[in-house]
Symmetry: C2
DNA sequence: CGTACGTTTGAGTAGCTTCAATTGGGGTGG
DNA sequence: CCACCCCAATTGAAGCTACTCAAACGTACG
């Protein structure tokens, strides 16, 4: 179960930034090739198998951030009642660990939902970049700002009184990619419902033909109706 | 209803940082007095009366952050059903507007719950500070990180199934200062409940002598029991 | 083929919401 | 100073939603 670490050194002189996790933060329009430090060239990666932890609750914070190259990860906390509360589902391109920068121990755990490839980005490296490139501080701020905005959206979803409403919003938000790698229980823990209720809501929409579910693939032929449900239109669960 | 703007220029040479909203970010251990730019000396303030908006939903983002000097502010969004969802209650010392850095229009509104004094901090000024003082980038990151962590906590509270549980957690979290400037409706919108339910929960605890409510002052003689309720111990509403 | 686990579905119940009536407190005008 | 009004808070009763408990089904894996 040990994570394999791989050191990747790019030899591509044409575009040294290709594949660099920091490329989203780099703001030098024309970075002088000679001045590019190791930062952009060295990439440490971790491969996670489905179910493996990237880090656990109470782990010591190691001052490292992570960027997901491929796969999906869930961020969770332990609920008061023993169950787990999913904070966020993170997909390809997402940063992991932004909430731990000021803390000594993780208050959230991160588990791979599928096999994952994750790039390790030492926080010091990010700070170093922010130091060298003033404009990237702005980009970094925007990234954190966006994270905050997403959490606010999630909180809004949790306050939607109706269960179908929450499930509909979840589907609309997550079904750009037409696949849901997480279990019903995970969805339930994310939406503040039970897996039974989630299942009932999905079945209700499926019965109406608004949702089709091949074992991993999901589609929304009735996207318009689902949007109405998400907006508050009531929906009888049993037909 | 027009907000009064006041320009305050400090003449105090002894401690130029005193009262500076950026002091929490400044990381120069011994800032050379001669090099201190206007940044630390100019402070624009806004005075808000209870009920006045600092900004509204859909307002254009003016690239300004705010720091609350005194008073309380609520951050809210419009719910699907017409009601408003409170995102966060912000008190003295808190930063306002961190979630809007990457957006063109506000997706949240900010209203004063009490009379407020708010310092205006142009985002450019923050960036300029981050540029000059590399270490303050870390502090800024920690601040945003802390904000994210608080939102995650809030989301966890919203998933607590029981109503009394949510109210108890809210009281424990908010009653360091022994006063709740917001209305029952606001609390309800924050917790994802109705004002009736909030009222009932508070009454239940008051009947048991765990909570006392002078018109503005709140106290928790039964903090221990309230903590148990927050942790999941069931509680009959009617006695 | 059999076991184990996740999902679906079924009744019954608890708890929150809804709607409405009552109380209380703060402000205004007499 | 008191009466009045207005809005917020409280409280009551009824209804409905989502949870609980439980069983049956499907699928993946040995």
């Amino acid at each position: 179960m040990a994570s394999k670490l791989k050191l990747v050194v790019s030899n591509d002189r044409v575009s040294p930034c290709y594949g660099c996790p920091l490329s989203g933060l780099c703001r030098d329009d024309a970075p002088p090739a000679a001045a590019v430090p190791h930062t952009c060239l060295e990439q440490r990666c971790v491969h996670l198998h489905s179910g493996e932890h990237l880090f656990r609750v109470s782990d010591e914070v190691d001052q490292q951030l992570h960027v997901i190259r491929s796969g999906d990860i869930k961020l969770y906390q332990h609920g008061r009642d023993g169950g787990q509360h999913i904070i966020e589902f993170l997909g390809s391109g997402a940063w992991v660990g932004l909430e731990s920068l000021n803390q000594q121990h993780r208050h959230a755990g991160a588990v791979a939902l599928t096999d994952c490839e994750v790039t390790i980005v030492p926080y010091a490296q990010v700070l170093s970049l922010l130091d060298r490139q003033p404009r990237s501080a702005e980009a970094f701020g925007q990234m954190l700002s966006g994270t905050i905005a997403r959490h606010q959206q999630h909180a809004a979803m949790l306050r939607s009184t109706s269960a179908v409403q929450r499930v509909a919003q979840f589907l609309l938000q997550r079904l750009e990619q037409a696949s849901l790698p997480m279990s019903r229980q995970d969805i339930a823990d994310y939406l503040g419902l039970t897996s039974s209720t989630v299942s009932r809501c999905l079945s209700a929409m499926r019965r109406r033909g608004w949702l089709t579910m091949g074992q991993r693939a999901y589609h929304l032929p009735g996207r318009l109706q689902v949007e109405k449900v998400a907006a508050g239109t009531p929906l009888m669960l049993e037909d």
